[in-house]
Point group: C2
Chain length 116, copies 2
């Protein structure tokens, strides 16, 4: 079983549409990376229905901790900085995507996080 997890900062004051766009940025970027680096895992994840889960952290430090842990495990990652044209200062890091990859591999890193 495969999944992709997107982890979002809950300390940013952004609307739900903008938030959804940031999550989509992270998801797409990680999918395209996975297409290049782990094509077989991408195909298996897609054939299972492309499971995506959105989780939250309290702040940037917690987000970066998860990001580094995922990179150490060899999971495909994407880190999203907002262009800052609306709602946020330019360069604000908003969310990360982990995977798609094996569920258990991602769960090891994200098991203590709550659903957004």
């Amino acid at each position: 079983m495969f999944k992709q997890v997107i982890v979002v900062r809950s300390d940013l004051d952004i609307g739900k549409g903008k938030l959804a766009a940031q999550v989509a940025h992270a998801s797409v970027e990680a999918v395209l990376k996975c297409l290049k680096e782990k094509k077989e895992i991408l195909d298996r994840w897609l054939s299972e229905g492309a499971k995506k889960i959105v989780l939250k952290v309290n702040n940037l430090d917690e987000l970066l901790e998860i990001y580094e842990a995922a990179k150490r495990e060899g999971i495909v990652t994407a880190l999203i900085k907002d262009a800052g044209l609306t709602q946020l200062p330019p360069g604000t890091i908003t969310c990360i995507a982990l995977g798609p990859d094996y569920e258990e591999k991602i769960d090891k890193i994200t098991k203590d996080l709550k659903l957004l």
Copy 2:
């Protein structure tokens, strides 16, 4: 200039995390379709920063109207049905993605819609 628009039903009672996951489903599915059918447009959209905008409609009828109009224009589309394991009845259509494609081509169809 290129963009992708994701259009979401505003009459569904779902949390913002679940909503963001639906938007990401739509975005990824349309991107992978675009990779097969309009690779050059995908590359140009990515090189411009992969602009994504999330808009809303009031109900399913309005969503399907936009969807059909986009298909008639030859825009890449994705229509997302929720598996219905949580929060929604199985098979509920939640959102669509249009593009990536030329901004003006998409704007022609979505110009009257509001930001989510």
